[in-house]
């Protein structure tokens, strides 16, 4: 059977020519090689080098930005704890672990997040998830490489909270319809827009993390407690990363 493309003498001549040319290039002294490459690569490889340069720049900027974001979160958490305990000022920086949200619950997309950090990185069940000084949720299950975070919008999420102005404590409890604050005394003056932070009492979250602002205040039927509804500061649908407090 004949080959589809017959080899001719011309090809062999061209091959020899190209081999000679390559050998000449190979035998050039190093400074000449660099001079030659510098002169031509700037023109011939300009688009490829330009794209590469931009990508490297973006990668470095992204790394710097991630570092700045981590520092900002540390400062915000420190600031949060100082807000409540001004006398117990500490320079100890919280140990934050950056985690990217790799999956969201398919129904609401804001009640459960799967993150790309797990047991190997020191994530533990119950660890709080924070973002810019706000409490996002808590870790509920951990495997070696990933973990699931139940957010504050997840029904049955509970955390001990504090009204920042008055220092009055209460319990935050999420229902399928809203985020409610229970056991908040009726005689404490509270306005829509007031800030609520974590109290740190008997809960997984440290004191001073922002939780949200008061949306509605209702008298209710209870003799001792008010009925409050809360809105979080952070739009959980728009974040793509968070920090785990180790």
């Amino acid at each position: 059977m004949k080959p589809a493309i017959p080899i001719r003498r011309t090809e062999e001549k061209i091959l020899i020519l190209l081999i000679i040319l390559s050998t000449i290039l190979l035998s050039l002294p190093s400074p000449v090689k660099f001079e030659f490459a510098n002169r031509f690569s700037g023109i011939v490889l300009y688009p490829a080098l330009w794209v590469t340069g931009r990508l490297i720049e973006l990668r470095l900027l992204n790394r710097d930005l991630a570092e700045l974001d981590r520092k900002l979160n540390q400062v915000l958490i420190q600031f949060g704890s100082e807000r409540l305990k001004a006398s117990e000022r500490t320079d100890e920086k919280p140990d934050l672990l950056l985690a990217y949200i790799v999956m969201r619950d398919p129904k609401s997309r804001v009640r459960f997040f799967t993150i790309n950090r797990g047991d190997k990185e020191g994530v533990r069940v119950g660890a709080p998830a924070v973002y810019q000084g706000n409490l996002i949720g808590r870790v509920i299950t951990v495997s070696s490489n990933q973990a699931v975070v139940a957010t504050i919008l997840n029904p049955n999420f509970r955390v001990s909270i504090q009204h920042l102005k008055s220092g009055t404590n209460g319990i935050l409890e999420t229902t399928p319809q809203s985020i409610r604050i229970k056991y908040f005394l009726r005689d404490v003056p509270i306005q829509p827009g007031d800030t609520i932070v974590t109290s740190g009492f008997g809960s997984f979250a440290p004191p001073g993390l922002l939780v949200g602002r008061i949306d509605r205040v209702e008298e209710g039927k209870d003799l001792f407690f008010q009925e409050l509804t809360l809105l979080p500061f952070i739009n959980l649908g728009s974040i793509n990363h968070l920090y785990i407090l180790r």
């Binding site: 080959p3 091959l15 040319l21 390559s22 190979l26 035998s27 090689k33 490889l45 490829a48």
Partner: protein, 133 residues
């Protein structure tokens, strides 16, 4: 079209290989082999040489090495084309081995060479299948 398209593809692959680092198969080598098997013979030799030269310009320490290797590769792929028409298994394996050696000569880390071979085996098999049709 047959003359310009491979160069555009080369350019894309060079940009990709700059950014993907060492854990990226040597797709330019595979492209040279594929072009030599499918394209016209004389431009195939030039294509091998120019591809090698483009890579050499990016890394001028061994200026000429890639162009030499790619020219020889293109010629071997042209010369050994007839093997595919006979479709004898050991000859096919011999060809894979040959390109493996070329790939190892080019690639510094073993991972890159292994990845190249993994991509090259089905490519050459598919090309030989296409040419025998």
């Amino acid at each position: 079209m047959m003359l310009i398209l491979p160069y555009l593809l080369t350019y894309l692959l060079i940009t990709l290989s700059f950014n993907m680092g060492q854990s990226f198969p040597d797709l330019i080598l595979i492209l040279v082999v594929a072009y030599a098997m499918l394209g016209p013979p004389i431009p195939a030799l030039g294509f091998g040489f120019i591809n090698g030269l483009l890579l050499d310009l990016a890394n001028p320490v061994g200026l000429g090495l890639n162009s030499l290797l790619f020219t020889i590769t293109a010629f071997l792929a042209l010369r050994l084309n007839k093997i595919f028409f006979q479709r004898i298994v050991y000859q096919y394996l011999l060809l894979i081995l040959l390109f493996t050696i070329i790939s190892l000569l080019r690639a510094d880390p073993l991972l890159k060479a292994i990845l190249t071979i993994l991509v090259m085996i089905p490519t050459i098999y598919l090309l030989s299948w296409k040419l025998t049709e």
